[in-house]
Amino acid sequence: MPDIAIEVEPLSLVIEIGDMPVRVNTTDPQFVALLQHRYSGFISHSKLPEMEFDIDLATPRPANPNVPVKVTQRLGSWTLLRGDFRAEWNPASRRGTIVQTANPYSIDAVLRIVHSLVLARQGGFLLHSASAIRNGKAFLFAGVSGAGKTTISRLAPPDATLLTDEISYVRKTKDGYIAFGTPFTGELAKLGENVSAPVATLYLLAKGPENRIDTITPSEATRCLLANVLFFAEDEQLVQSIFDSAFEFVNRVPVRRLTFVPDAGVWELIG
């Protein structure tokens, strides 16, 4: 009797953000194509991913991505839960699963959360900020929605390389901090360049009648930094790590208030 079972060939690709390759496996070629397009510039050929996720594409059902994300750890495994996805990840085995529908937004959120968890243990963080490289140095522009992240990104001169207009990737090294490009976009809807550079300054954005840079106190800098760090986990140790990282960052990197009018002249102050 002929064998009627059909083995579906698993398809995979590696998404590398912040020098951290993550392999995702699925059986749906259309979803792979969608991811290749979504993470264009961040697809890697690394044979040694630092972690791997099997994606289970669920049948479409009512899902609400506005349900607040819940990230918890139990017995060494993380559970990431939102209205539109459920993910499990075990850092020890470096493997995980994601149950979601075939859309790019759910996996985007899972990747952001997983990267934030990994960075938190290493003294780095994801920051709600635009960032760009100029003259070999990275500059971060932090602020809540409406503070001007998209505007300052749009005003960037041709010699500036945009890393992101929305979420910056900051990794700690023995010599300081490195900012990496990310595919996490804001209003500009333009993927950052997949390059990196040492962080020179963090600017806290404010709109005003003139372009100017002001110093701020370390406590204000720390407070503003912590207010803009993306962190989702209910985990005592990681909260302590993020808290300590913010103080260390402010101790090592200049943090300034950048007031600007929406014109390209502001970039004369940067770099």
Binding site: S219, E234, I242, F243
Partner: protein
């Protein structure tokens, strides 16, 4: 009037900078910046010193304020901090390592 005892919640991240106490909740990552009076309460919250003694020795000594008024305000502030799970408040001394079951949050 019964005495009140305060103890710091060991499950928060806390650090002083520029004379300001910054505290982050481990539960939901909320950041709190304490004012001068709240910072004194936090620093003095050893679980053993009654609140009226803290007010007398630290708050009245630093701010020109009448003791009963200061105690009333300090108790209100301590309970607010307890509501945010920054401090524990109890009518009994609170062991440092483990807050008593009777302590209110």
């Amino acid at each position: 009037m019964s005495k009140l005892f305060l103890a710091r919640n060991p499950r928060v991240a806390a650090r002083a900078l520029d004379g300001e106490m910054m505290i982050m909740s481990a539960r939901d990552s909320t950041l709190f910046t304490l004012n001068k009076t709240a910072t004194i309460l936090w620093q003095s919250a050893d679980g053993a010193t009654p609140l009226d003694e803290i007010v007398q020795s630290r708050i009245c000594a630093e701010f020109e304020v009448e003791a009963s008024e200061a105690l009333h305000d300090a108790e209100k502030l301590a309970r607010e901090l307890a509501n945010h799970e920054i401090l524990f408040v109890s009518e009994q001394p609170i062991p440092q390592s483990a807050p008593s079951a009777g302590s209110s949050r």
